[in-house]
């Protein structure tokens, strides 16, 4: 079984969010980048499939050279080969077009991406790839088992979950639940050494243009200080919620 895991290179969850170039670009100064958490759950699930069912794992990223440490980390966790499509990931459409085009030439049985990246939150890359290539797609995927070319998956729905069955090839948008946070792997020294020897191939982008552009970023208005209500005066809290905030 050949697995492709799509890796987004995103600011760490605790990063301060600032913008530069007249608020048109994210300020990367001093920011630590990581594998998008939703992708990392998928990569870890792929590792289980590799270890138990002899799958091979390629990881792919659309990005410039700065994503290479993130791809090396994926190799150190256990992926076999990394591919970087050498282009600025301008929007989800552009990224999905690039990856779909790559898959057309290099078919996979299972394609795993995150349900969304935690930076631009586009929530479209796996779905667009599925649509472009007409491959079955399940997102918000919290469980994935594969046996004899058949997939059983759980999808988180509003207020519960749904169990689906399908067959390969399939594309999923993964999230926590595929594995738990405690299952995530920190690369060990051996993995890091091996990762240096593994192929990290750079390919030039396919000829597509993005279909959106960011005009400007804004940061939320600074918050007003919290209004504290004494715990012996909860009538006041209800009064504020009813008359001031008008949410009751």
């Amino acid at each position: 079984m050949k697995i492709l895991v799509c890796i987004s290179h995103v600011p760490d969850t605790t990063s301060k969010i600032n913008f530069v170039d007249d608020d048109t670009k994210f300020d990367v100064q001093g920011v630590q980048f990581v594998i998008n958490p939703n992708d990392e759950f998928g990569l870890t699930r792929a590792m289980w499939l590799k270890e138990k069912q002899d799958a091979s794992i390629d990881v792919i990223n659309v990005g410039n050279q700065t994503s290479e440490p993130t791809l090396r980390k994926a190799l150190a966790i256990g992926a076999d080969r990394a591919i970087r499509i050498n282009a600025e990931p301008i929007d989800g459409f552009f990224v999905a077009k690039q990856i779909a085009e790559f898959i057309k030439e290099n078919p996979y049985d299972l394609i795993i991406a995150g349900r969304e990246s935690i930076d631009y939150n586009g929530a479209m890359v796996p779905g667009l790839i599925a649509g472009f290539l007409n491959i079955d797609y399940v997102t918000n995927c919290t469980k994935l088992d594969i046996e004899n070319g058949k997939a059983t998956l759980d999808r988180e729905i509003d207020g519960g979950k749904e169990t689906l069955s399908g067959s390969l090839p399939i594309i999923i948008g993964g999230q926590k639940g595929l594995v738990e946070e405690s299952d995530l792997r920190i690369p060990n020294m051996r993995g890091i050494m091996q990762a240096r020897q593994k192929p990290l191939d750079t390919i030039e982008p396919f000829d597509f243009s993005p279909n959106t552009s960011t005009i400007k970023f804004h940061k939320p208005e600074p918050k007003q200080a919290v209004k504290l209500v004494d715990s012996d005066n909860l009538d006041e809290l209800i009064n504020l919620l009813h008359n001031e905030a008008k949410v009751l």
Partner: protein, 320 residues
């Protein structure tokens, strides 16, 4: 050119989010000098939608659509958008709509803008404000594509009441087969899901154990709210994963979010930031949540929550 909005239903009734979508679609149509059409799938009673300006609804009825299937549902919407020449499609931020949106975008060669919180500030190029960086920032994003799909963030636009008379039209669709089959569905019955709720009562490790969640559930019942929890609580298995809100859990955009015994880690705050009013109840006045909240009570949840519940019951009686 027209605006099409897909209005979701559950148990044969239009979901509440549908009224906000209808309001948005009608205002968008006004702004673009076009008309707004709604489409529903297996929803017998669509009359309420006319209270929010929609005067035409396409009704799709098919047994093959009884269970949600993203591919088939996106086919339905795509056929309607082509037949009625719709270049703007407005979808909700439910899990189902977010699931089908990119499939639809690929099919009709559209730009997909999700987490949208405003009407366009500019029509040429079409520019809307959306949240990004998990609610830590906003992005004014534009698209020059002919077709644009707008994923409207829950509770971000509000309702615009405008009663009109409704014409209903049965819409026939051609459906392919899908390889994906739903084997089973588990849904908590009789409770409100986080995505559909106006009010969410959320609790964290401060509750000390799953056996104390009756306090949270009682308060949620009184408020007609959904219950949610912090990441450690779902990690420890005190509550199901579907209740976990935050950066790696469910995003929450509700009118009122009440956080009980949750310290307010940055990842949690990111997930709930687009809620309008935040109330925190915590015995630690230094908890970071107090910096993110609108109203706060410093106190022991085990004393404050039951007391608040009693007071709210009195409030409900007086206001009913």
């Amino acid at each position: 050119m027209a605006v099409l909005t897909y209005i979701e239903s559950s148990n044969g009734k239009i979901k509440k989010s549908g009224f906000e979508l209808a309001s948005y679609a009608c205002e968008l149509a006004k702004q673009t000098n076009s008309s707004a059409i709604a489409i529903t799938i297996n929803c017998p009673d669509t009359s309420e939608i006319a209270n929010y300006g929609i005067d035409k609804v396409l009704k799709v009825n098919s047994d093959s659509l009884n269970e949600f299937n993203a591919k088939l549902y996106s086919d339905v919407i795509s056929q309607a958008s082509t037949n009625f020449d719709c270049d703007r499609i407005v979808l909700s931020s439910s899990s189902d709509s977010k699931y089908l949106a990119p499939l639809l975008a690929a099919k009709i060669d559209a730009s997909y803008l999700n987490n949208v919180i405003s009407l366009p500030s500019n029509l040429n190029p079409f520019t809307v404000r959306r949240t990004a960086f998990t609610n830590k920032a906003f992005s004014d994003t534009s698209s020059s594509s002919k077709n644009i799909i707008i994923g409207l963030s829950n509770n971000s636009f509000g309702l615009v009441e405008n009663s009109v008379s409704l014409s209903e039209e049965d819409f026939q669709v051609n459906l392919e087969n899908s390889n994906l089959a739903v084997e089973s569905t588990e849904k908590a019955s009789g409770t409100i899901s986080i995505a559909d709720a106006d009010i969410v009562v959320s609790a964290g490790r401060g509750m000390k154990g799953p056996e104390n969640w009756n306090l949270i559930e009682d308060l949620a019942n009184t408020l007609g709210a959904a219950t949610a929890c912090s990441k450690p609580v779902s990690d420890m298995g005190w509550r199901p994963h579907s209740e976990h809100v935050g950066q790696t859990g469910k995003p929450v955009a509700t009118n009122l979010y009440i956080a009980i015994g949750i310290s307010g880690a940055i990842q949690h705050l990111a997930g709930i930031n687009s809620s309008k009013i935040k109330v925190v109840i915590n015995n630690d006045p230094e908890a970071p949540f107090f910096k993110a909240a609108d109203y706060g009570v410093v106190g022991d949840a085990f004393e404050v929550v039951p007391k608040l519940n009693e007071k709210l019951k009195e409030f409900n009686l007086q206001n009913s």
